[in-house]
């Protein structure tokens, strides 16, 4: 059997799976991210799912760690305190102070720290053995976090600009010719109210989903090739696929950190926009 025929059979297999048939290679898809752990209701999809559980556990573990590590702080840090201070410094100074500005940043530090630690831990959970689930690959959770950021920066902006109307007015930069104002207003309004939250949530969700899906393809595909492959070449490709999945895992680690960083950074950026007196 030549490789082309094999790939053709994969395709047909995938098609068959999608149609609810049997046999062939079960292509990993979004359905693989549906993990109801504790169903609440037998008829509907109301359930405590695996990502929700991971999210809850991560929040509790993070909370416990940070609270216990900051219980006994000393000017000369211990090992745990060093870790806490390292992450805190990063969020406080690199993300918070440098972007929002030293005047207003302090009140947003808890928010940024929560976002960053929660995202980092949940993203890295995607490759932590036995957990191996990136929580953000379920769109609901990025949407929640984005909503929090969205509400925060609009509230801050409305408060800073003393009302909704002045806020809308401030969207258009001053000193523009009259005919340009409506166009720019529409553009800016879309940016602030639609594009920013949409991209913020979808970037995180898409990265985590795609990254994990890729790992799934390489691992599940490798397994399939190794176990079901009809000749040595296919089985060797399966081993190669496993090896590549290990490489991709390290790549994922980078992506996971970057996404947590970018999300927090953009949140800070949006807040800094809201805090600034001018547009």
């Amino acid at each position: 059997m030549s490789p082309t025929v094999v790939s053709a059979s994969w395709l047909s297999g995938a098609v068959v799976t999608a149609e609810g048939g049997e046999g062939g290679f079960p292509t990993p898809g979004v359905a693989d991210f549906w993990w109801p752990v504790v169903p609440f209701h037998s008829d509907s999809a109301w359930a405590l799912t695996r990502p929700a559980l991971v999210m809850l556990i991560s929040a509790l573990v993070l909370g416990w760690f940070y609270v216990s590590a900051t219980r006994k702080l000393s000017v000369v840090p211990s090992k745990n305190q060093f870790l806490v201070e390292g992450s805190y410094n990063f969020v406080r100074n690199t993300i918070g102070r440098d972007i929002i500005g030293s005047k207003d940043f302090l009140q947003f530090v808890p928010l940024l720290l929560t976002l960053f630690t929660l995202l980092l831990v949940n993203n890295v959970f995607g490759i932590v053995p036995f957990i191996q689930f990136p929580t953000m690959s379920r769109v609901g959770i990025p949407i929640v976090l984005t909503l929090i950021v969205y509400i925060t920066y609009h509230t801050v902006a409305i408060r800073r600009k003393h009302g909704i109307l002045p806020y809308f007015k401030s969207l258009v930069p001053p000193g523009l010719p009259g005919w340009l104002k409506p166009i720019l207003f529409v553009l800016e309004f879309l940016t602030y109210f639609v594009i920013r939250p949409l991209t913020l949530a979808l970037r995180l969700f898409g990265n985590m989903l795609a990254g994990h899906l890729m790992l799934l393809v390489f691992i599940v595909g490798g397994e399939y090739l190794l176990l079901e492959g009809s000749n040595l070449f296919l089985q060797a490709s399966g081993v190669l696929s496993f090896a590549f999945s290990i490489f991709m895992t390290f790549f994922e680690l980078l992506i996971e950190f970057l996404q947590a960083f970018i999300f927090t950074l953009l949140a800070a950026l949006y807040i800094s926009d809201a805090v600034s007196e001018h547009h």
Partner: protein, 194 residues
């Protein structure tokens, strides 16, 4: 709306129909998780860390103050040392001057002592010479007596010898000479020649 959307899910899995549809339970739990963590961070972690930061800043400032104080102290000590050094140098100069004076004094003293010694030696030498001269005078006196007697005998005759012995003419003459009754000019050239 949530219930309706949830109800559309079938057995295969919630997202099979709409992969981008958020699952409400996940959203709620995500919100709860975030709220818990945010609350903990806001009420406990961040205030504690901020307190530490101010404490550390204070410690650093305190350290700088301390360093400044130490520097001032060091400067004061340096000034003191310089003053002491100048003092010590002046003192050393004084001591050197005194030593020089003392040395000169000692030299002078030694010189005077040496002079005294020299004088003493000269004196004793003179005395010795005097004694020797005395002795010479005494022996000369005898010799002059003898010689003059012999000379006189040769001039006057041999008999004079006994007569001279009998009368002690020479002794008497010499005694007179010493007593100053006879002028020494007559005798001394003979004495000094001897």
């Amino acid at each position: 709306m949530f219930n309706a959307s949830v109800a559309t899910a079938d057995g295969v899995g919630y997202p099979s129909g709409f992969p981008l549809l958020p699952h409400p339970a996940e959203m709620i739990i995500g919100l709860i998780s975030f709220a818990i963590l945010y609350w903990l961070f806001k009420t406990k972690v961040v205030p504690r860390l901020e307190e530490l930061y101010t404490e550390r800043a204070a410690a650093i400032e305190g350290g700088m103050e301390q360093a400044e104080q130490a520097q001032a102290e060091a400067r004061a000590a340096l000034e003191q040392y310089t003053a002491q050094l100048a003092e010590a140098r002046a003192e050393a100069n004084g001591i050197r001057e005194a030593a020089r004076e003392q040395g000169a004094q000692i030299v002078a003293e030694m010189r005077s002592r040496a002079q005294a010694e020299a004088a003493r030696i000269t004196e004793s030498a003179k005395r010795q010479v005097e004694a020797e001269r005395q002795q010479a005078v005494v022996s000369l006196r005898q010799e002059v007596g003898t010689l003059s007697t012999a000379l006189a005998s040769k001039i006057v005759g041999e008999s004079l010898e006994d007569e001279v012995r009998q009368k002690g003419i020479v002794d008497r003459f010499l005694a007179e000479l010493e007593a100053g009754e006879v002028t020494p000019e007559k005798v001394t050239p003979a004495g000094t020649d001897a």
